[in-house]
């Protein structure tokens, strides 16, 4: 299988603390990977650093064998929902159209075809009725779907999503997951920072256990074991064997 993302010996610090050390990861194309780790493990920093949004201390990152600047259009990023001001005077359709700004290019205006593309993406996430709704009037789940639609219009090969399932309702969670699976079927690669250990096995085929460095990375059934989870989270975790699957419950 082809490697779409190669991270070598990446380190990054946040203020005085080193939050990432010697991260080495290869991501295969067509995989749907959960990035899992405790709070402060550097999950968001990891995404930001490989996207050049946060400076790295050492290391190199290559996409499809090339530096990021050459393949920016093939890489989509969904930041955490809380990272923007939802009071910004704009509507859902407009936010989705923003995903196309890279393709539209500098100095050009969005055309009708772009609007249609954006509408189609909203339709896909089940939000077409809300296209002209001011974004502050959307619920948390709806805002997250708008963000996802914005990523979809980018039509990227590789997606990074920072906690898309945090604080959303069940319907949104289902909608988002069915889209992620569809992306995977189309051969796209998706990396998702994920906080809910209970759903990892159902949702993702690969897991990247991260705590400042890569603890384990590979296919979910091989890597997502009690032993590995404990070594990622330290002692702060309680594991219960129930039937075939693990029911995992964080203490905090």
């Amino acid at each position: 299988m082809e490697t779409v993302l190669k991270v070598e010996n990446l380190s990054a610090s946040y203020r005085k603390n080193t939050v990432l050390q010697h991260v080495n990861v290869n991501i295969d194309s067509g995989s749907l990977t959960a990035i899992v780790g405790p709070n402060g493990a550097g999950k968001s920093t990891f995404l930001k650093t490989i996207l050049n949004l946060h400076p790295s201390l050492t290391g190199s990152v290559s996409y499809f064998g090339q530096p990021l600047s050459k393949v920016k259009k093939q890489v989509g990023y969904v930041p955490q929902r809380g990272s923007v001001d939802w009071d910004f005077p704009t509507d859902a359709l407009d936010v989705v159209t923003m995903g196309l700004y890279g393709q539209i290019g500098f100095l050009r205006r969005p055309k009708r075809s772009h609007r249609e593309k954006a509408l189609a993406a909203l339709e896909k996430v089940g939000m077409s009725d809300y296209a002209n709704r001011q974004i502050s009037q959307l619920s948390g789940g709806q805002q997250q779907r708008v963000f996802l639609a914005r990523a979809l219009v980018q039509d990227a090969e590789l997606y990074f999503m920072d906690e898309p399932l945090a604080g959303v309702d069940a319907a949104t969670e289902r909608a988002i997951m069915s889209i992620l699976k569809e992306l995977k079927q189309l051969g796209r690669t998706v990396l998702v920072v994920h906080h809910d250990l209970q759903t990892v096995q159902d949702y993702f085929d690969h897991v990247l256990l991260l705590n400042k460095t890569v603890i384990k990375h590979g296919r979910t059934e091989k890597v997502f074991t009690n032993e590995n989870i404990i070594s990622t989270y330290g002692g702060n975790i309680q594991l219960l064997k129930e039937g075939q699957g693990h029911v995992v419950h964080t203490l905090h």
């Binding site: 070598e8 010996n9 610090s13 005085k16 010697h22 050492t58 190199s60 064998g65 502050s136």
Partner: protein, 307 residues
């Protein structure tokens, strides 16, 4: 220069500028930890209409009454900022900018009216904009000193309460500390420091005397008490030196000189400070980077893939 400095009025002015600097340095630490650095700037500008209205009412330049007017006006500004940001989607930043400029605009409107009326030019209210410490008379100095000591006393007397209030307000509440009382006290000392400072430093630059010393002190210590002490020293020394320099030239404004002296302390602290000073930080970063690259030995760090 000595002949100017040795007159008794100048000595008093110098002394009061020092005490003002100390008070501002201490109160500045409070607003630093409240993360309200520019609030002092907004409130200082908001004080201007109060000064002018009071002058219009009492008809003479009595610092004590002008300070009361300034305080009322600044408190109105503070209330307005709070009200707008809590009841609309407008952020604190915008609310502060509006209050600052609109109140100042109103102040200038009124000041122009005062200056136009007979004898208005002698009102000396213009000196409130840039500060003219030398224009202070003995009774002004007394008023200022009394209020500055009052502010310093409140902060020192309640030092451990302030610490709790700044560090963890909700915990402080749990311990039975009244947050609303602390908020009232905080606003009182902040507004008092600002309004006694505007005569000497001016409405435009008084904020600097609250912001710069406290930030400079932060570069030398991790202890709150030491920070307060250092900030008070920086503020006091800047006040004294700045006032002394401005006394040399005829009609030189006091505020700007005080600010520039304080800024020098800041630059020294920023570069050489033992906590987070850039020199030290740079050395640390280099060490970190070196440690990382050594650990992986001869591993080629930058390798381009060619597929």
């Amino acid at each position: 220069m000595w002949s100017i400095l040795s007159t008794s009025n100048t000595q008093w002015v110098l002394f009061s500028a020092t005490i003002l600097g100390i008070a501002a340095g201490i109160v500045g630490c409070l607003s630093y930890w409240k993360k309200q650095s520019l609030m002092s700037d907004a409130l200082a500008h908001a004080a201007l209409p109060g000064v002018v209205i009071t002058f219009l009412i009492i008809g003479e330049k009595n610092l004590f009454f002008l300070i009361i007017g300034a305080a009322i006006s600044a408190l109105l500004g503070a209330f307005f900022i709070q009200w707008v940001q809590s009841s609309t989607r407008i952020t604190e930043d915008t609310a502060m900018g509006m209050t600052l400029s609109v109140f100042f605009g109103l102040g200038i409107m009124l000041l122009t009216v005062v200056n136009r009326t007979a004898g208005g030019n002698q009102s000396g209210l213009d000196s409130f904009i840039f500060g003219q410490a030398a224009a202070m008379v003995r009774s002004d100095v007394n008023t200022m000193l009394a209020l500055a000591f009052f502010v310093i006393l409140i902060v020192i007397a309640g030092f451990k309460e302030w610490k709790l209030y700044l560090f963890d307000p909700s915990f402080a509440k749990g311990l039975g500390l009244s947050l609303s009382l602390m908020n009232v006290l905080y606003t009182t000392v902040l507004v008092t420091t600002i309004v006694i400072g505007i005569q000497a430093v001016g409405v435009i630059l008084i904020a600097a005397l609250l912001i710069i010393p406290s930030v400079s002190a932060r570069y030398w210590t991790q202890k709150l008490k030491t920070m307060f002490l250092l900030s008070a020293c920086f503020g006091g020394i800047s006040g004294a030196i700045g006032t002394a320099i401005s006394a040399i030239g005829r009609g030189w404004p006091t505020g700007p000189f005080i600010v520039v002296v304080a800024a020098l302390f800041f630059i020294i602290s920023l570069v050489f400070g033992k906590e987070k000073g850039i020199l030290l930080k740079h050395l640390q970063f280099r060490k970190q980077q070196k440690a990382h690259s050594q650990e992986i030995g001869h591993h080629p760090v930058f390798q381009k893939e060619g597929k």
